[in-house]
Structure formats: structure tokens, C-alpha cells
């Protein structure tokens, strides 16, 4: 379990997270949603130690603040929101960086496997800088996948922590990436993702944490969390919630005239 208890984060004197309790379980996709400025990315940065926090964050019972970096790197991989690379590295070289975290002895096929899994088979020799934004995002996703390739290891489940993993992808690639995450979770790994698209989140997430004003408004299963009352309060606009035609996932249909 990835557990954060009573997390406070202040940036430039302003309290951005105000006592957040957050739990994510292996075998599930846990999504973090909320309006702009609600603290989603800050929470993710606390979970990945990119920002200073007070409170406790544990991974499988181990305090992440005292785990050595290389041990942590073998148990969780982090996908940043956008990534520029300084030098003309090839796609192969970028994905292979994921193997630095203890898996350098792994067969070279893992790079190709990871690329194939994100729909970029055959891109090995291309230059990263020359790809489109969406392709770059998928290359980074492949790198992160190669870092924690097996969803379960000797130290327990492995984790993917992702900041808006589908933000610059077209709809078919959004589904492709979400399917990869879903399979990873079902194989026993843990997935934590900051998401913007509520419908995609409703379709794929097992748990949703709704953040607003630096606090968790609610965390639970999609149908318990994605209610018209909670969403309207959180986002400040009326968001009617129905049921998706294909199943029992909630479905949110924004309305042009729904601003209060």
C-alpha cells in the first residue's frame, strides 16, 4: 500500500496541501482529480519526494523519506508531465534509461517490448527531439514501464506514478495507455495517476481521490465519488452525472449553459 498521512505542503508561504490523507492499493488504478490549483500535482510531488512535506508517506510500510534512492527506484517509476531532453538521444536510448534503476542486465528486448506496448514499435532509431508531443509522452511512458517492468517483484508490488499520462494524446492512444495501466494493475502492480478527463477516469479508475483547495474531498469507488453534488461543489459548475451506455461507470456530460 502507498499511504500518505496528514500531508502538509507549503509553497512560498502558502499552504497548498492542508492535511491530506491518501491511500492507494496494489491491483488498482487510483486516480487523483480536482480543479486547477487544487493541489493534485503537489500531492504527486510529495509522493515522489520532489517537494518538501510534513507528515508521513510510506510504501509497503517503509518510510520513503529514509529509503535509499536506488531502492525506491526499483519499486516505483514516475512519469513527469512534460519532458524536454537536452541532447539528440534516440528513442531507444531514452527508453533504455529506465533500465538504469537496477535492471541494466535485462535483455535489450525489454526496450522494444516497452515501445511495442505503447504502440511505438519500430521507433527505436528515431530521434526523440523530432517526435510529436504525444509520441514523446508515449516514449517517456515506455521508459517508465521499462523501469518497473514486472508488476510484482521480490520487494512486493511495483508502482507507476503518473502526472497526466494521457494529456497530450488523441483518443485512441488515451485508451491504449489506459489499457496498459489497467493490465498493469490487474497483474498486481499499483498505479497512481493525476487525471483531468473525468469520463476516462470513471471508466478506468478503481479508486478516485477528489482534491479541492488542498484537501481530499472524498476518496472511493467512481460511482460513490463522481456524484453531481460533489462535482458541482468541487468544480463550481453544474455537471450532470449519468450512466455510460456500455456499463455501470458514471458518465459526466458538461453542459454549455451549466455555469452557475
Amino acid at each position: 500500500m502507498f499511504e500518505a498521512l496528514n500531508i502538509h505542503v507549503s509553497l512560498a508561504g502558502k499552504e497548498v496541501l492542508r492535511g491530506v490523507d491518501f491511500r492507494a492499493y496494489p491491483g488498482q488504478i487510483t486516480a487523483i482529480v480536482g480543479p486547477n490549483g487544487s493541489g493534485k500535482t503537489t500531492l504527486l510531488r510529495a509522493l515522489t519526494q520532489e517537494t518538501a512535506y510534513t507528515g508521513s508517506i510510506t510504501l509497503g510500510g517503509d518510510d520513503i523519506a529514509v529509503l535509499p534512492g536506488w531502492k525506491l527506484a526499483a519499486r516505483r517509476a514516475v512519469l513527469p508531465q512534460a519532458s524536454r531532453i537536452a541532447f539528440p538521444f534516440t528513442v531507444y536510448e531514452v527508453v533504455r534509461l529506465g533500465l538504469l534503476a537496477g535492471a541494466e542486465a535485462a535483455q535489450d528486448t525489454r526496450v522494444s517490448d516497452a515501445l511495442a506496448r505503447v504502440g511505438l514499435g519500430g521507433f527505436e532509431g528515431r530521434y526523440y527531439q523530432e517526435l510529436s508531443g504525444g509520441e514523446q509522452q508515449r516514449v517517456q511512458f515506455a521508459r517508465v514501464l521499462s523501469q518497473v517492468w514486472e508488476p510484482q517483484g521480490d520487494d512486493g508490488p511495483k508502482w507507476l506514478i503518473l502526472d497526466e499520462p494521457v494529456s497530450s494524446l488523441d483518443i485512441s492512444h488515451q485508451l491504449e495507455v489506459m489499457n496498459v495501466l489497467s493490465r498493469y494493475a490487474h497483474a498486481g502492480g499499483g498505479v497512481i495517476a493525476v487525471m483531468h478527463d473525468l469520463n476516462l477516469t470513471a471508466m478506468y479508475a478503481d479508486q478516485i481521490a477528489v482534491l479541492s483547495g488542498g484537501r481530499i474531498m472524498k476518496q472511493g469507488a467512481p460511482r460513490d465519488v463522481l456524484t453531481e453534488a460533489l462535482l458541482s461543489e468541487t468544480y463550481g459548475c453544474t455537471l450532470p452525472v449519468g450512466v455510460a451506455p456500455s456499463g455501470d461507470a458514471p458518465f459526466i456530460l458538461p453542459q454549455a449553459a451549466s455555469l452557475r
Binding site: T48, K71, A73, S83, I85, F89, E93, V94, L97, G98
Partner: protein, 336 residues
């Protein structure tokens, strides 16, 4: 181009360097004298062993130090235009040398005598080291080094050291001015075994540390946070990088003056030839840096023979336009 190919190129350039010069002495003539059991003439021995071989070794050491330091700094700053000059090593070393040339006479006589002609190199090295340390302190806050603060701090520090150097130059007499000009232009002409013993160990130690940085520098291309997420001890590798660069460049500038652009040109050429992977970039940069500096030195010795052109002028003439070319090619990629 491989490590083997570049090694052969360096060997050939080294032989050419030993043969180049105003006198007729060459490796071949000395070798044939030795093989025929003849005594090597005193003139040949002095030219080869006291002038050309020290000069060759100094060229190799300085060229390798500047090129590898350039590659390390560019990896650290994630910017193909970063150069050791940017972190203030060059400006600080310059101030140290100028101080020694202009104010050296004011030191107690005993100290003057014991330092001898080491005074300028020692002062240059101390200046480079001190300015790097000051800049590093400025830009490191709570254990994190900010690249932006470091770049801007480098500009401020260069302005300050430049002003202090200007005051000293204003105070200098004619003989000192001539020394200053030649030191500032950069040259391998003053190569001696003493200087090699002074700078060589420091440069070799710094170069020996860089292979351990290669994988970390590759990861750092993704950014500091992603590198840390891959388990790279980012802060430690930054410290080692900065210390290595300060040592290598400080020592190189101390014995050879201001030789510019090797640190920019060599890594850039290599990235075009073999790609940006630092595991291959760093050793190849040492070889190509040494080769190019020896080639520039041969040009500087022969183009207006029997007089010599300071090598800094040669590298600047070749490197300046090259730098602009890189700048124009990368204009869209640089978000500075």
C-alpha cells in the same frame, strides 16, 4: 569514429607535433641516430626532450581537460552551449594570474624566490578554484544547485573579476602588460616539465573521475527530478562534476592561459559523430580534445614561422564561427 580510430589519430598528430618546429629536429632523425648507435646530438636532445615532448604532453593534458570538462558541464547544465568558462573558472583563474603578474613583485622576497615561476600558475589555479567555490555556494540552496542561478551568478562573477582584472591591468607597467597579453591569449609555448608535474596529476585525477559520471549524466538529460526517480544520487554527482571541472580547467588554465572553445567544439562534433551517450562521449572527448589542440598548436607554430602565433588566437578563429554555427542551428531548441 571510435576510441581506436581517435587513438590512432592522436598518435599521428603527436608525431607531427614532435616533428614540427623551426629546427630540423625530428623523431625520425633522433630515432635513426639512436638505432645506428650514434650519440644523440645535444641540440636534438634539448629540442626534443626539454621543449617538444613537454609541449606535446601539455597539449594533450590541456586539450583533454578542456574537452572533457566541456562535455561534463554541458551534461550538468543540460545545455550544449555550456562551457567551463560559464562557471567562472576561466575568469577567476585569469584574475589570479593577473594578480600574480602585477602584484607578485610586492610579495616578500623570500616568498617570491620560493614560488619562482610557479607564482602565475599557482595563482591562476587558486583563482579558478575560489571563484568556482563561491559560485557554487551562491547557487546551492538547501542542498540543491540551481542551474539558472549558477548561470546568472557566473555572469555577475565574471563582471566582477573582469573589473578587478581591469584595475590591475591599469596599474601594470609595460613589461607586465606584455606578460598579461600573452597569458591571456593562451599558449603552449611555455611548456616545461615543472608545469606538467604541477598540473598533470590534478588533470588526470579529474579525468579519472568522469567515467563514473557518465551514466548519471545520461539520466540527467531527462531533468533532475526524473534522474533522481531513476535512483541517481543527483546531488552527489553534481558535486563531483563541479569539483572535477574546477580541478581540470583550473589546472589547464594555470599552465596554458586562456584557450577557448575546445570545450564547446569537441563535444559538439562528437555528438554529431557518435551520439550524446556520455559513456562514449567522455573518453572520446579526451582523445579528440587532445588531438585538436595539438593540431591547433602545430598551426600556431608554423603559420608565421619562425615566430609563433598564440594558440588561443588559433582556437578562437576556428571556434568562434563554429560556436555561432551551433547557436544558429540550436536557436529553436534553446529556451534560455
Amino acid at each position: 569514429m571510435s576510441v581506436f580510430g581517435l587513438s590512432v589519430l592522436l598518435l599521428l598528430t603527436s608525431i607531427a607535433s614532435l616533428n614540427a618546429g623551426a629546427s630540423g629536429t625530428s623523431v625520425w632523425s633522433v630515432l635513426s641516430q639512436a638505432l645506428q648507435g650514434e650519440a644523440i646530438s645535444a641540440q636534438d636532445r634539448i629540442i626534443l626532450f626539454d621543449i617538444r615532448i613537454p609541449r606535446l604532453l601539455m597539449g594533450i593534458l590541456v586539450g583533454a581537460a578542456l574537452a572533457v570538462s566541456g562535455a561534463v558541464m554541458q551534461g550538468l547544465f543540460r545545455n550544449p552551449l555550456a562551457d567551463p568558462g560559464l562557471v567562472g573558472v576561466g575568469a577567476g583563474a585569469g584574475l589570479g594570474a593577473i594578480t600574480a603578474i602585477v602584484l607578485g613583485g610586492a610579495l616578500p622576497l623570500a616568498l617570491q624566490q620560493s614560488l619562482g615561476y610557479f607564482a602565475v600558475p599557482v595563482a591562476a589555479f587558486l583563482g579558478g578554484w575560489a571563484s568556482t567555490m563561491i559560485l557554487y555556494r551562491i547557487s546551492t540552496h538547501r542542498g540543491r544547485t540551481s542551474v539558472a542561478v549558477m548561470l546568472l551568478g557566473g555572469i555577475a562573477l565574471a563582471a566582477l573579476t573582469g573589473a578587478l582584472s581591469g584595475i590591475l591591468i591599469y596599474m601594470a607597467d609595460d613589461a607586465q602588460l606584455r606578460d598579461l597579453t600573452f597569458w591571456g591569449l593562451g599558449s603552449l609555448a611555455g611548456a616545461t616539465w615543472d608545469k606538467i608535474w604541477l598540473a598533470g596529476p590534478l588533470i588526470l585525477l579529474a579525468l579519472a573521475a568522469t567515467p563514473f559520471l557518465a551514466r548519471s549524466l545520461n539520466a540527467l538529460a531527462l531533468g533532475e527530478a526524473p534522474a533522481a526517480h531513476l535512483g541517481i544520487p543527483v546531488q552527489r554527482m553534481k558535486n563531483i562534476s563541479i569539483l572535477s571541472v574546477a580541478a581540470a580547467v583550473g589546472a589547464a588554465v594555470a599552465i596554458s592561459g586562456g584557450i577557448g572553445f575546445v570545450g564547446i567544439v569537441v563535444p559538439h562534433l562528437l555528438r554529431l559523430m557518435i551520439g550524446p551517450d556520455h559513456r562514449y562521449l567522455l573518453p572520446n572527448a579526451a582523445l579528440l580534445g587532445a588531438t585538436l589542440l595539438l593540431a591547433a598548436d602545430i598551426i600556431s607554430r608554423t603559420v608565421i614561422a619562425p615566430a609563433e602565433l598564440p594558440i588561443g588566437i588559433v582556437t578562437a578563429c576556428l571556434g568562434g564561427p563554429f560556436f555561432l554555427w551551433i547557436l544558429l542551428r540550436n536557436r529553436s531548441l534553446l529556451d534560455l
